[in-house]
Symmetry: C3
Amino acid sequence: MKLLQKLCGIHAPSGNEIQMKEFLLDYIDKEKRHWKVQPEILASDDFMDCILLVFGKPRTAVFAHMDSIGFMVRYGNQLIKIGGPVCETGYELVGEDSLGKIACTLIVDEETGQLTYDYYREIERGTELVFKAEFREEKDIVQCCYMDNRLGVWNALKVAETLEDGVIAFSCWEEIGGGSVSFLARYINERFGVRQALIADITWVTEGVLPGEGVAISLRDSLIPRRSFIMKIVEIAKKAGIPYQLEVESAGGSDGKELQFSNIPWDWCFIGAPEDNVHSPDEIVHKADMQAMVDLYKVLLKEL
Amino acid sequence: MKLLQKLCGIHAPSGNEIQMKEFLLDYIDKEKRHWKVQPEILASDDFMDCILLVFGKPRTAVFAHMDSIGFMVRYGNQLIKIGGPVCETGYELVGEDSLGKIACTLIVDEETGQLTYDYYREIERGTELVFKAEFREEKDIVQCCYMDNRLGVWNALKVAETLEDGVIAFSCWEEIGGGSVSFLARYINERFGVRQALIADITWVTEGVLPGEGVAISLRDSLIPRRSFIMKIVEIAKKAGIPYQLEVESAGGSDGKELQFSNIPWDWCFIGAPEDNVHSPDEIVHKADMQAMVDLYKVLLKEL
Amino acid sequence: MKLLQKLCGIHAPSGNEIQMKEFLLDYIDKEKRHWKVQPEILASDDFMDCILLVFGKPRTAVFAHMDSIGFMVRYGNQLIKIGGPVCETGYELVGEDSLGKIACTLIVDEETGQLTYDYYREIERGTELVFKAEFREEKDIVQCCYMDNRLGVWNALKVAETLEDGVIAFSCWEEIGGGSVSFLARYINERFGVRQALIADITWVTEGVLPGEGVAISLRDSLIPRRSFIMKIVEIAKKAGIPYQLEVESAGGSDGKELQFSNIPWDWCFIGAPEDNVHSPDEIVHKADMQAMVDLYKVLLKEL
């Protein structure tokens, strides 16, 4: 869990994922000697702040977004949201401006809902603040801000260890609706002809998707991927005996959205562990679901 | 009207249009010997569950979406919508899960608006349900669920009979915002240089667009296509003496949306018969408007 | 200010920018002999109603949208909006239908908010109406409808006078969410490899962005461009000593949206003078901010 803990503490709100990119490139450089197959690493500025890892002869791509939700300083002591964080007075926020490191507190006006920070000095306009990471581990669970989607990134790195054929894409901007998957998907498709994608992201605990009951395979969120592809995945999960839960939601979105609307006929499926306390500093995930997620990705990348 | 009746009864909610694809391929295979020009039929998995028919040297493409609105079983007896169906307690819904065929009833909670089904057994999570088709024909009208857009498909098949130059595209996912037109449009443009499109879909009876008064030519919905193209179409309709009505709406969308935002300079226009009781089991269309729709498409595909 | 005044009076609501295209082509044809570098002018129907000016060896593209907000006649005396105009009873609207020029008055129903026009005769269905341009100039300010974005267009023409390397793109449909930037951006990228863009548009006076205090550099609106690119721009502005203000908003959008979601890795930044009375007939801009806008674009096109 050391790796996951480190990932959760990296400052990478949407639009500024560079620190995550650098951490991952460094990690991959150190660890890849232990991997079964040495990937091609694509991380030039042509990919902006994203990374592609290409293993063998890929048939399927995994997308894991690196960015997180957070806040940005507007004018005076006002804050606005980056993506959709839960807001409660007292949440600890961290960041940095030209005057130095910042650790301040979120204030939510009870009547208007307006967001401000409480700090001993004014923070520079446009400064990004993210939840302070407090990583908590117990026997069955891990808890921290940004399990969404540092756990998806962690999952991709675990899968990389034994991956023979496939692409792993670390994407940006997911929390604000996207902006990198379109060009990553185009590159992957044009160079390798790949048009199957798995979205490695974290979903919600609900009355139908329970903690500890397995990785969620999403039949739909606000979008509906091609049913025949989802059903093929469900069959593979069933045969492999990996604990999974079917998710059926009418709201929500993911990196799958950019694939759905691209000019390439992508099949895609969202597969991820469920978490409770979504988009708060206290996102909590069951370890069994993390394991099921890794297991299912490993099988799917072999069998799809 | 036999063909239209059959089309209305096919299970093809957004994301699962495969039965419609198979029906159409079978129909086309049987009927095309009677057509003026033999089309190239493109229906491999590169086109997912869509079909392209290419006639002669195309200058214009017609898009008709095959998918329908409906419902999906969430958890327990909950239903969520596929697209935007009208919901009234008592509507009959049909579908199928691994235990067999299903004919159940929609229940709308009067206070919360929540949707459930009434059935003697639990239906499997993720099962799709659609309106039960009750096709009604009178002297001047036809009425059934899914005139939107089985009538657009029917229109395309009628136009195919005498079409010399043009592409007919049967698309997927329109009712949930799209997902196939982007790649179909790219293929059509790259191979044939075509960048004129007609959207064969069904629109609304309103105070300005009346049943029996002609096919609707849409000047705009939530989007606004290039005015010069629309005006060229209006001129052709006028000269041909085909009954038409100009539609001007601020809401609504169609397959035109994916063309508008594509990276190809498409001109597009929505042209379709108006219906009343939109998105209900009782969609009703005037036969004269159906005829005007077919007539206008035939002329436009010659003259554009 | 003669040029700006003329631009503000041209009828070019979204979807019907042809008069603006013709005015600009005529203006460019007359003026370009005075420009430092003779641009390639791309304005065939492949670019629909848009124009591209290509100077030297471009590294950066400037997008300035030509279209304006307005109204369209629906049924009877109803009006619907084109984009998001402010609506007040008494606003003067102008347009033309087949019966001739029109100058009518906007009526807003106080209870329902419904829009109608007051005119001595019925106006043809689908007719576009725009605010009547009343150009007002004082020592420090200019005021008129459609400073957004005729001032962005004016800025681009000023920059063109001395531009050595760069693309200027005059785009359509911005006020209704886009439709031309995708194909313009694709052309620019494929032919020149350019993937840096500046959005020359007008923004809002707020408590943080004041009239006369400099051109606004937007750190974000509803979208968040890549931070490293924005910070490079801020550094250049700072070094050049050009008055600028950092804007941080959670709402709003621009031509940048189509770049963000394109399948090309564009960096983009919205840079424009702030105005008060946004989207009304009385949009007002400080001349010092207009000058700062032109100055900053000139420097950026050299240094980026």
